[in-house]
Amino acid sequence: MEYLIPIGLFAGLGILAGVLLTVVSKAFAVKTDERIEAAQEALPQVNCGACGFSGCNDYAEAVVTKGAECNLCKPGGAESAAKLAEIMGVEAQEAEPMTAFVRCAGDCNVTRHKYDFDGIQSCAACNRFYNGSKTCTSGCMGYGDCVKVCPQGAISIVDRIAVIDPEKCIGCGLCAKECPNDLIAVRRKSQKVEVICSSGDMGRLTREICSNGCIGCKMCERKCPKQAITVINNHAVIDYDKCINCGICVDTCRVHAVKRI
């Protein structure tokens, strides 16, 4: 009897708990589509949000249930697109690998600072004080707002400007959304020519404050065989869809603001 009571009591408690849990788990069962799990596995799970959905699992669900396109995943590229297409039983579409590039080369060797910034160490905060602490009002401030959002750790601050490692970059574009000066372009990995300045100042002022600046002389614009490079807001801008990477603009530029990379 001494042994039976505790055993009986615990058996009773256990059975009660078992019955209750079984009933509740039946009542609150979650139906999952097998394809959603398969789609989740096909994605790289970096949750960058470049596809326009809030994370890989959300995108996987959208592909299966809402008929979203299969090639929206930028980090996964062609591989993920092919796997998703296989799961959904449709033809795979091409997804070209993308990478981000910072269109500013105004590091601490070529520009100066107007004042010492001692507030919250973020570009967005610094930008509120006279458009940043650097003499150039449209350049990279180097407080690393882009570094903080990068899911891959591809961005580093070198000589107080952001530099993106194209090997690590997955082209999600989170940094481009974060940059207060809109300096980061997300374009095809195969792009070989870049303008390294986004200054909105007049040519003479730009050269005074930064020796890497574009002066907006329009020489490249005249020489480009495809009209892919135009001067907008006092600096050259490349239309990546038209550019054929011929490099004529690089040779034409007298201030070396267009570079091969």
Partner: protein, 191 residues
Amino acid sequence: MKEFLIIMLSAVFVNNVVLSQFMGICPFLGVSKQLKSSVGMGGAVIFVMVCATACTYPVYKLLELAKIEYLQTVAFILVIALFVQLVEIVMKKVMPPLYKALGVYLPLITTNCAVLGVTIANIDNGYTFAKSITNALGTGLAFTLALVLFSGVRARIADSNIPETFKGVPATLVAASIVSLSFMGFSGLFS
């Protein structure tokens, strides 16, 4: 009525389960990164604490009747595990984003010493059923208060410029100790 109020207030402020008694530190540090997840976690813990107390009280009376009080720990853990499992099943269905945000910390409520602590403290203090429930509710609220307060502190830490060596866990622990220090101001309020 006055007694209940004292039990409640002393559980929330004076003997705050996390900040004065240092119980349940793991979810306190684990899920206090965002306000939303800390409120969710607090709600789950309140539910488990109140339900577990409501069940462990009669269970303890049963054990007492059979003169096997030494099995108290096993019986209490069983009851707590049952309610944690219930919360998990229901939350997975009703609030999938919160379920994902809480991750492994949700099943870890099972071995959250704050939950077992409150059920045992109720027995040890000889509380009646109503007082036990009040104490459990107060302790749950105290846990939620600590998490919510600390999530605010962590939001500030994330924005501040702290030395490289302190970044991450060290800064969080230092901040936790300072928040705990502030609760020392309540000590001796009711005695």
